[in-house]
């Protein structure tokens, strides 16, 4: 009995001390992205960036709350995504979420966030339907959509002289969506798509498809899918002697693409809604802070958007407190919010449009097209 009383006394004393130390209320926000699997480089970069935003906010003496990031792994699989989204959304302590890199997952989870009323800010998925396919007030997006990306890609490629395309796309919502927009956009130019190849997202062998492409002799192979598949297609092109220019969408623009392919990655063209951080208004500070924070993995191109999404959520919580409905309303009304990636304005479907940037792989780095040696004429693309 005496022992029990003493234990209770100690416990009380400890809790009093911690209560004093944490005078601020702790508020949790969720992060969901692929932390394992082939797309984990992008997911981990996003998580680190969101974590950075949280740390910086916590270090700010003016902030009213102490924030905690709850990172969850969706493995880039819709079924897993729904599980973890439900876990986050049913935890009332999680006020809002920085959610999803993979479009196929993000589109599958919008209903979950809507049903449980958890505000979500998409940081990496670009399928338009995520915001435009519904009227859920909970779903926002800071990183633009594939409408922005395909528009820039089509104009640029046809303008550079690539008139005859073959599109290889994965058969998820992501790849199918991209194909549809490419077809719409190219119809307005003098270019044409001479063949499309749908491939399943875990397909291993592309020899039949690639030999068929070799036969069709297009000027360029445009790949609409994610990194693991892009790596396989590109490396098998080399094995089969398909010597054609290769271009991809933001889905392949990760450091793991460059690492996996080595010299074969050279001259791959890609388009991304994320501009190089150096060219963003707050990009220099982001890079410095990220280095200072000592993360082992790179931020990856969508990292700044994960940072912005987390920052936007915390700014809303600062304004109205940790209440999902109120936070949602503040997020809905976001107009001209000055973020490190430029001004964020949500349209009537809570989507923030961005200007896509063109990149090319040069010596194992993704270099902005305008800054590359391909523009200065030192190096040449194939098929022109």
């Amino acid at each position: 009995m005496l022992f029990k009383a003493a234990a209770v006394g100690v416990a009380l004393a400890v809790s009093a001390v911690t209560a004093h130390a944490q005078s601020k209320e702790t508020v949790k926000i969720g992060f969901v992205g692929p932390l394992s699997g082939g797309n984990s480089a992008a997911g981990v970069g996003g998580r680190n960036s969101a974590e950075l935003a949280v740390r910086l906010r916590n270090a700010d003496p003016k902030s009213k709350y102490k924030y905690e990031l709850v990172a969850l792994d969706d493995e880039c699989k819709p079924n897993v995504g729904i599980q973890v989204a439900t876990r986050a959304a049913t935890d009332k302590n999680i006020i809002a979420g920085v959610t999803h890199y993979c479009s196929a997952v993000a589109i599958a989870t919008v209903d979950v966030y809507h049903r449980f009323g958890m505000p979500a800010v998409v940081w990496g998925a670009i399928l338009p339907a995520i915001t435009y396919g519904n009227d859920y007030k909970e779903i926002h997006r800071v990183n633009g959509s594939m409408l922005d990306e395909t528009a820039v890609a089509t104009t640029f490629l046809t303008g550079t002289g690539y008139k005859k395309w073959v599109v290889v796309h994965d058969t998820t919502d992501y790849g199918n969506g991209l194909l549809k927009f490419f077809q719409e956009k190219i119809a307005k130019t003098d270019g044409q798509i001479v063949g499309t190849f749908g491939v399943s997202a875990d397909q291993q062998d592309f020899s039949a498809e690639l030999l068929k492409i070799k036969e069709a002799k297009p000027q360029i192979v445009v790949f609409a899918g994610l990194t693991p598949l892009g790596v396989r297609v590109r490396s098998q092109m080399e094995r089969l002697g398909v010597n054609i220019q290769f271009a991809g969408v933001s889905g392949i623009m990760s450091t793991s693409y460059l690492e996996a392919l080595g010299p074969n990655a050279e001259a791959t063209i890609a388009f991304h809604n994320g501009a190089p951080p150096e060219t963003m208004p707050g990009g220099k500070k982001f890079i410095e802070d990220y280095q200072k924070a000592g993360f082992k993995e790179p931020a990856e191109p969508y990292g700044p958007y994960a940072y912005v999404a987390a920052d936007l959520i915390m700014a809303a919580i600062e304004k109205v407190g940790p209440d999902r409905k109120k936070v949602r309303d503040v997020l809905n009304a976001t107009k001209n919010y000055q973020s490190i990636a430029g001004a964020i304005t949500f349209d009537d479907h809570r989507n923030n449009s961005v200007a896509s940037t063109k990149y090319v792989a040069q010596d194992g780095h993704w270099v902005r097209w305008e800054d590359s040696e391909y523009v200065s004429g030192k190096r040449k693309l194939k098929g022109l």
Binding site: S40, Q204, S207, A208, L211, A216, S235, G241, A260
Partner: protein, 304 residues
């Protein structure tokens, strides 16, 4: 015309990998009438142990082109052979008198166990791993036909392994024992053939073929991942069934048939290439209704 040869050649590489997996299924079914569904995951294990062997070689600073490949293959064969015999000894033989359904389920679970263990215990096991090339990548152009030396060596290696297996079954004492057990286990035992040892040898042999297929797969695609054996296992099994479970030549024919179906679909309907596996499996279902006991039917051939 040149492109036609390229289709055939690359389809053949795919086919020989399927065939190696299918031969394993056929051997297991031949000797014990069991379907061992962990076979695909044993393949993955073979590929991963090959990768570890290569990394170990690098660690001690040895970078030998052909000897490296042989070492990697040896390690993969040893690991998969041991695992195959182990599964036979610990799970299949003790259960051989229970219904086939139980063994199928049990090996399915063992396979899941192997797969998940690789995912959880290999560092960053959920991510695809780059596989070393191990063979010279020299491009070869013959009358407009583009090949790469490593693809050619892999194809030759695959055929060599298949013929060696066939020779082993046909012309050695062990092969004779395997065939005897396959025909009638009880009688074979009565004639003095060590039943358990023969069955375990068969399991080791079938499994190390999967190990070789795993390493070939890794080299050919330059990467491996923890779930690579899943689809390969299903394809290998279908190939064995359509060829005629229990017949080695049937398994080989089945493997090449499956690869040919996949390639053919893409060649004929390039715009619907996403449906190639749907087509290939549908064709297998139809083939099974036409040849219920496989293309090489059992009554015309001895088992194994």
């Amino acid at each position: 015309m040149a492109i036609f040869f390229e289709f055939v050649f690359n389809g053949a590489v795919l086919g020989i990998m399927y065939a190696l997996v299918a031969v394993g299924f056929t051997l297991f079914f031949g000797v014990l009438d069991v379907i061992k569904f962990s076979h695909g995951d044993v393949l993955t294990l073979g590929a991963f142990s090959g990768l570890i062997a290569f990394l170990a070689l690098q660690l001690v600073g040895l970078d030998l082109p052909f000897l490296g490949l042989i070492f990697v293959l040896l390690v993969a064969c040893l690991v998969t052979g041991a695992i195959g015999a182990g599964i036979g000894q610990l799970f299949v033989i003790p259960m051989r008198n229970s219904s086939a359904f139980n063994i199928l389920l049990m090996t399915l679970m063992i396979g899941t166990g192997i797969r998940e263990s690789i995912r959880l215990f290999y560092p960053n096991g959920a991510n695809p791993k780059a596989f070393p090339s191990l063979l010279p990548k020299t491009p070869i152009e013959l009358g407009g036909v583009f090949l790469r030396l490593d693809s050619l060596i892999l194809l030759a290696l695959g055929f060599a392994v298949v013929f060696l297996t066939h020779w082993l079954i046909r012309h050695t004492k062990l092969g004779l024992a395997i065939r005897a057990v396959a025909q009638d286990g009880d009688t074979a035992q009565a004639m003095g053939i060590p039943f358990r040892r023969t069955v375990l040898a068969t399991f080791a042999l079938g499994s190390l073929l999967a190990g070789i297929a795993g390493v070939m797969h890794g080299i050919y695609y330059s990467e491996i991942n923890f779930s690579v054996g899943l689809l390969l296992g299903i394809i290998g099994f279908s190939a064995a069934v359509v060829g005629g479970l229990g017949s080695i030549w049937g398994a080989i024919i089945g493997g090449f048939t499956f690869a040919a179906l996949q390639t053919l679909w893409v060649v004929v309907f390039p715009d619907a290439s996403g449906y190639r596996d749907v087509f290939a499996f549908a064709a297998i279902i139809i083939a099974m209704t036409i040849f219920p006991t496989g293309i090489i039917a059992e009554r015309y051939s001895e088992r194994v």
